[in-house]
């Protein structure tokens, strides 16, 4: 190659540079086009994403293992440091909970009796799929986590994801062996919720911060810091009464809600397979379409 005349090389260089620049502009344009396409045609893009997700999930599953171990060890160390305080706190909490347990048992019996008396329709039952968090978005613009369970495990789009503390988010994308959860805190997260004391309905919105906003409440709603917020079950996608968080402050008819779930510490979640009386269509959460052909409610 080098034996060729210097002239040829000198002539070829600009062409190479031109080709490179053209490729560079072409790729940048393709990226912009993809974003526009993404905005207009979510279905095709979603399929593409799930292919990437499924392909990457075995690698992520391996990589996330040491990360989880490290975080466990650190939590354990923290726990050991505060062992004495934690013990005292738990003892006090235990005494309090025993009181509540007695109350709950009494109410449960009462509830069962009244339900039988009224011949009331039972709430749809739910089953669960446990899944491990193998990735999080880590990016500044979205709040999502990746799970190692997908359609083969029975996960479907729109289902609720919970952990021991409360609602985590909803399934946004489903691959064969992996899925993505849109966290409650994400900019695009909207969950129908109710304020527990007044039973007022609203929509819980995320804005990428750790505080959620409960909006669209009816005017003059009585609410105060400390009120619990739970899912309303409206729309039929989520089960009702899943705990979400507590109101921290109120301003201009919007309640700011601190979620129960600590999103940076998610390791395992449960996907709620809410067995509805009518089957929801596959894209129930995103498109807000629902099958109306089921048995009448």
């Amino acid at each position: 190659m080098r034996q060729r005349g210097g002239n040829t090389q000198r002539d070829a260089m600009p062409i190479k540079v031109v080709v490179q620049r053209f490729a560079f502009v072409l790729l940048a344009a393709a990226a912009v086009a993809l974003m526009l396409f993404n905005k207009s045609n979510t279905g095709a893009v979603e399929r593409f994403r799930t292919v990437i997700l499924d392909a990457a999930s075995p690698v992520l599953e391996v990589l996330s293992q040491p990360a989880i171990t490290i975080s466990r060890v650190m939590e354990e160390a923290r726990f050991l440091i505060h062992l004495h305080d934690e013990n005292a706190r738990l003892r006090e909490e235990n005494a309090r909970l025993k009181h509540w347990q007695a109350a709950a048992l009494r109410l449960q019996q009462q509830h069962a009796g009244l339900t039988a008396l009224l011949n009331a329709r039972q709430d749809p039952t739910s089953t669960f799929v446990a899944a491990r968090v193998i990735g999080d978005s880590g990016g500044p613009f979205v709040r999502t986590v990746l799970l190692n369970a997908g359609s083969r495990d029975g996960v479907a789009k729109g289902q609720a994801a919970i952990n021991g503390d409360g609602l985590v988010g909803r399934v946004a994308e489903v691959g064969v062996r992996s899925s993505r959860i849109l966290l409650l805190t994400d900019l695009n997260s909207r969950v129908p919720a109710i304020l527990e004391p007044s039973r007022d309905r609203g929509v819980l919105e995320g804005d990428n911060t750790n505080i959620l906003q409960l909006s669209y409440l009816s005017a003059g709603v009585q609410m105060s810091p400390g009120d619990r917020v739970v899912t309303s079950g409206h729309g039929g996608v989520f089960p009702a009464e899943l705990p979400i968080g507590t109101v921290t402050s109120v301003s201009d008819g919007v309640a700011f809600v601190q979620p129960f779930v600590q999103f940076h510490r998610l390791d395992y979640v449960r996907i709620v397979k809410h067995n509805l009386a009518f089957p929801p269509t596959r894209d129930v959460a995103g498109q807000r379409t629902r099958s109306s052909s089921g048995p009448s409610q």
Partner: protein
């Protein structure tokens, strides 16, 4: 004959080092850390990799590879598909054209160049996501990510340089 083929294969495999390290950066960006007290955003490892290789070995991490790695990152993070691909391709294009400015200079010059890249990438990605989501996206996480990225760049680049010295030693 066979051993020659194997040697060639080995050399080719080594030439994939920059792309492999950048792919590793993509994966590491989405591995959950789960330690309370640490920020929720992870540093933009892929940006570090693309910047580094576009200065030192742009021929081993060509623009189409950068584009594909950006797409994989977009797919995994769940953001707008094409956002990271665009940012990384622009960074690759600009830096590889200006690489002579950095070659043979001190590390401080490279780091200063990277600070400009981080500033640009932060600003452009934030503006695009504001337009994409049609809302004012909270800029604090992306600013924090930019600061983290800039702060740990020397450590990551040290690792890249060590790996490259071993894998890409001039044995061809």
């Amino acid at each position: 004959m066979n051993s020659v083929a194997w040697r060639r294969f080995g050399i080719r495999l080594r030439l994939l080092t920059p792309a492999a390290l950048t792919l590793a950066a993509v994966f590491i960006s989405v591995v959950p850390i789960g330690v309370s007290g640490l920020p929720e955003v992870t540093p933009f490892f892929t940006l570090m990799a693309v910047y580094h290789w576009s200065i030192y070995r742009p021929e081993l991490l060509p623009a189409p590879a950068v584009f594909i790695l950006g797409l994989v990152q977009d797919g995994l993070t769940g953001g707008p598909l094409g956002l990271f691909a665009l940012i990384l391709v622009i960074v690759f294009g600009l830096v590889s054209m200006q690489r002579r400015t950095f070659l043979g200079k001190s590390f401080q010059v490279e780091w200063f160049g990277f600070s400009l890249v981080v500033l640009g990438a932060t600003l452009v990605s934030w503006l695009i996501s504001c337009v994409y989501f049609v809302t004012l996206v909270d800029p604090r996480p992306v600013v924090l990510q930019g600061i983290l990225t800039l702060a740990i760049y020397p450590c990551i680049v040290w690792i890249f340089a060590r790996v490259a010295r071993t894998a890409l030693r001039p044995s061809e």
